[in-house]
């Protein structure tokens, strides 16, 4: 068994968190709060370091331009005041505007144009056929959501169109189920990916049952 106090602390915290599997208990609560406290404290220190290095130090060097982001940052704290909370909206509006502008320029190219271009490929292999099928049926998910019936009018509500929409909707539903299944499978993989290193820590680093290579 390890004699390192850091390993002991880590092991006790891990066991405390896993004790939730039995039921909610004070040991779990204490570990959870300690984790949250540590994470927030670390975040606060890193945030302050950013403000100090990128704002206050530069201001002290005479770079007045940094006053603008500093004031915007300070204005966010006016949310605590009922009288002046409206001032924080200017900061939020600026942040949202900048983030939207930066994101949209990138998304247009990388997320839309390039993806559409990549989806338009010659159907000359099984892979490309599956891609085409999934693209078409993914669009058909729309019909699964909105449906179709007599209320759609004489043409869209006619039997052949309704039957076609039903087939498309069924195909779309199958694609959705496959997609959800894939996401569920990878979620399981991700959770095991977090669980196994904890077991390795407890049984290898803490009580040395698993041999160290």
């Amino acid at each position: 068994m390890s004699t390192d106090p850091k390993i002991w602390l880590g092991a006790i915290m891990s066991l405390g968190i896993y004790s939730y599997l039995y039921k909610e208990n004070p040991f779990f609560r204490a570990c959870e709060h300690a984790y949250m406290g540590l994470a927030l404290a670390h975040l606060a220190v890193m945030g302050w370091t950013n403000v100090r290095d990128m704002g206050l130090k530069k201001l002290a060097e005479g770079q007045l331009a940094v006053l603008f982001p500093l004031i915007l940052g300070v204005l966010l704290f006016t949310r605590w005041s009922k009288t002046y909370s409206w001032l924080s909206r200017y900061s939020l509006a600026y942040f949202v505007g900048v983030a939207a502008a930066v994101t949209i320029t990138g998304v247009l190219d990388a997320g839309i144009i390039s993806q559409v271009r990549g989806a338009i490929q010659p159907v000359n292999s099984l892979d490309s056929f599956i891609a085409l099928f999934c693209n078409v049926t993914a669009v058909c998910v729309f019909f699964f959501i909105v449906g179709s019936g007599k209320e759609a009018g004489p043409l869209l509500g006619s039997k052949p169109v309704v039957t076609l929409v039903k087939w498309a909707a069924d195909a779309g539903r199958v694609v959705m189920m496959i997609s959800f299944g894939a996401v569920f499978g990878t979620t399981v993989m991700a959770r095991l990916g977090l669980f196994i290193p904890r077991l390795q820590f407890l049984f290898r680093d803490f009580i040395h049952i698993i041999p160290v290579k």
Binding site: L21, H42, L43, M46, G47, T49, N50, D53, V98, A99, V102, T103, T105, G106, V107, D109, A110, G111, S114, Q115, R117, G118, S179, A182, V183, T186, T187, V188, M189, A190, L192, G193, L194, F195, I196, P197, R198, L199, Q200, F203, R204, I209, I210, P211, K213
Partner: protein, 275 residues
Amino acid sequence: MELKRTWLIWLILVVLVFVPLVTPLGLPLGSSPEGESAYAFVDKLPSGSIVMMDLAIAPSNEGELWPMALAVARHHMAKKHRIITVTYTPDGVMYAGKIRAIAEQEYGYKYGTDILVLPYRAGGESALAALAENPRQSFEQDQYGTPLAQYPLWQALTKIEDVAVFSCYTAGDDHLWLARHVYAKHKVPCIGGVIALSAPEAIVYWKNGQLVGLISGVKGAAIYEQKIGKPAAATASMDAQSMGHMYLFLLMVLGNVAYWRAKRHPAPQGKGGNA
């Protein structure tokens, strides 16, 4: 009774995962064309190439992301690439420090010449976009407060196009940020290192050529470890992963069988039952 059944399910999972950790079974890893593509790209980069690593790793995702980041970092070190780490996650600097220590102790890297650790920067995608536009203006000091201008490695980086490959290790969207701001605008090759959960979304970026490689989850990390000949944490846990998956798959099949059986033979009203 219900509690006992839940405990039994967990206990069997722990045993099935634990046993291969003590006595490895040697189950096959399978293949990962997207991961192998990442390996092949890094492997062909010439010695001295500048590479950037965005370490968006935190304790909550360390199990998946750290093994792959370490494997790629070791690959870079073995090929004598010059590494610059950057992070937009507060905890990322801890892992950058670990990479620096390994580089100096095991590969004889010199800080400032062969490796640089940039500090955490708030701002997420906007901050990364700023780095892509002008690295020199984005950072003035390294993680330890030293002006970057004095380091030869920073002097060699005048624009983002000087970077041979930019990789990220993230449970969020950093790989999409790279595709948007580093590849789309500057055509700098990018590699995504993502948690398994993000793989279905990220893989289209690899298939579309916006990422030159994609490493996903522990499996991707294990395959990369095998490729560089340094089996480590991910490889050691793959047998356990496989056993866990088989068990959960079996539970899903049993659950579905029980569901259909209950549907065909519903329990009489008022008799209870726990299907």
